[in-house]
Symmetry: C2
Subunit: 308 residues, 2 copies
């Protein structure tokens, strides 16, 4: 069983309009609403590929109810902690002609300290109750959460003996590594921004000096780098890169890491899955989706190599 | 007591962003949410100027709950009929620098015939229960409502002996006049579009041939034309036109008509109020707002004249 934590879950709303005109008035021709946030996307990919998963995190108010209801409809188990106020929305305005998106991200309501304390308590309780093998912490934090929220969550989850994967950026990532999560998954830009190092191997070493253990770097068309604390760096990529929708590719990659850690797979197997799962996500129109037949087909096209 | 009906009530959401960039990703720096729709704005203006009013119309789902809660917070009594599905939202993206708005209007969920039947039943019951003196029907209809919904509502309200004001446009207006509402309030463009006549007096005569009674035309800086079925056409305007935010000026004008009809005021008094109330709304940043001191001050600046 895998638990994913989406501290700042959102209702992702997509508006389709004929053409977006700045300062114009638009009749929205279609509206779709889905529970969103990186941890929810990770959970959705895991479920589609046959893994048992529970969604944790925070949701509140009527929008929180819509998030919970969408998870129900999609068959994703959830145990969300109430936040104070109404969950945030993202509004994604898509031009019908071109498919191009213009995105508006709400910050969500500021939270008192009690919300974070409740989340920690709920996650630890859930992890014990479902005997989780891995916990995934993904995405941004609600306003008002402590900057080291992920470090504190990692510590609490470690106390009950469960490994943790962190997918975060900026200060949230830099502070999280102090608690030694088993895997962190920055992309190339996030790693460079957190460390000032453009070379991923050097960047990973810099984060390891702060406490990081295994570092997995998503590098777009350059594939996935697995940089374990124990050495044996690997790069995996498709023989021929795919083009498509990169949104959600990182979440599918994290899903593969979680499944691999839960299943005790080798680093080489994990990094192959990571490439295949994220490539399968690129072929889908929305985040949190993969087609299992794409995954099977793409696995055979992954090439791995040792790097130094 | 006045009853306003907002068949297609919305939650009006305003996002402030630094600058709107087409196909960009925006962090929304502030989010405000208010119950919206023309009838709700009419009610809000009436309440601010000391008139008793109840909001009727349709709302449903979690967004409907937010609409109801905002009306509670604003101290506006309401008796909204449940619609099937979740009430629509409008998203208004405002550039922080310029104040310019880009608007996205959801259509809202399509309604079965039973929703309209329930609205008619609820409005008639409410009108009798609160002994309404005037009913106001304002704005668009939910998808799936009969095109002659306003005509049917007018007929039912007339059966219990209460006069009706209709503020609508297009086919909704053209069909509504067949039921002889006491006042219709098109703006110049709506009147021209409904009748093909650019002269308001000729246009009003064309609508009267279809069943209209008194016609009040809002003509922006040209003021307000009162074109009664019994004759005695009046024009009223400010000695010096104001500049500001025209959104909601029409709703404040309708509020003045409703208050005038309820209070048995003369046409000259009503048209003076209509100008002052709508001018006071122009001075406010959002629809459904007036400052009573502005109204008092502006009343003295209204000039009326007879027209033929």
């Amino acid at each position: 069983m895998i638990v994913t934590v989406t501290a700042n879950a959102a209702l992702d709303v997509t508006y389709t309009v004929p053409t977006l005109t700045v300062h114009g008035s638009h009749r929205v021709s279609s509206v779709t609403q889905r529970a969103g946030g990186k941890g929810i996307n990770v959970a959705a990919v895991l479920a589609q590929l046959g893994h048992e998963v529970v969604v944790a995190g925070c949701a509140g108010g009527p929008t929180g109810e819509q998030i919970r209801r969408d998870l129900d409809v999609r068959g994703l188990s959830h145990r969300l902690t109430d936040l104070v106020g109404d969950s945030r929305r993202t509004v994604n305005v898509v031009d019908a002609d071109t498919g191009d998106a213009t995105i508006f991200n709400e910050a969500g309501p500021a939270q008192p300290k009690s919300t974070f304390d409740a989340l920690v308590r709920d996650v630890v309780r859930l992890v014990q109750e479902v005997r989780a093998q891995v916990v995934v912490l993904s995405g941004s934090l609600p306003t008002g959460f402590p900057a080291d929220a992920y470090a504190r969550l990692v510590t609490q989850v470690h106390e009950v003996g469960v490994p943790v994967i962190v997918d975060a950026d900026g200060e949230t990532l830099a502070l999280a590594v102090a608690a030694h999560p088993e895997i962190i998954k920055p992309n190339s830009a996030e790693l460079a921004s957190a460390t000032g190092e453009s070379d991923p191997v050097t960047g990973a070493a810099a984060l390891r000096a702060l406490g990081a253990r295994d570092v997995v770097v998503s590098a777009g068309a350059d594939g996935v780098l697995m940089l374990p604390a124990a050495g044996g760096n690997l790069r995996a990529r498709l023989a021929t890169p795919l083009s498509g929708n990169p949104t959600g590719a990182g979440d599918a990659l994290v899903a593969a890491l979680a499944a691999g850690l839960a299943g005790g797979r080798s680093n080489e197997q994990i990094v192959r899955d990571a490439v295949a799962w994220s490539a399968a996500a690129v072929l889908q129109p929305a985040a949190g989706q993969v087609d299992p037949t794409d995954v099977t087909r793409l696995e055979s096209q992954v090439r791995t190599e040792e790097i130094v």
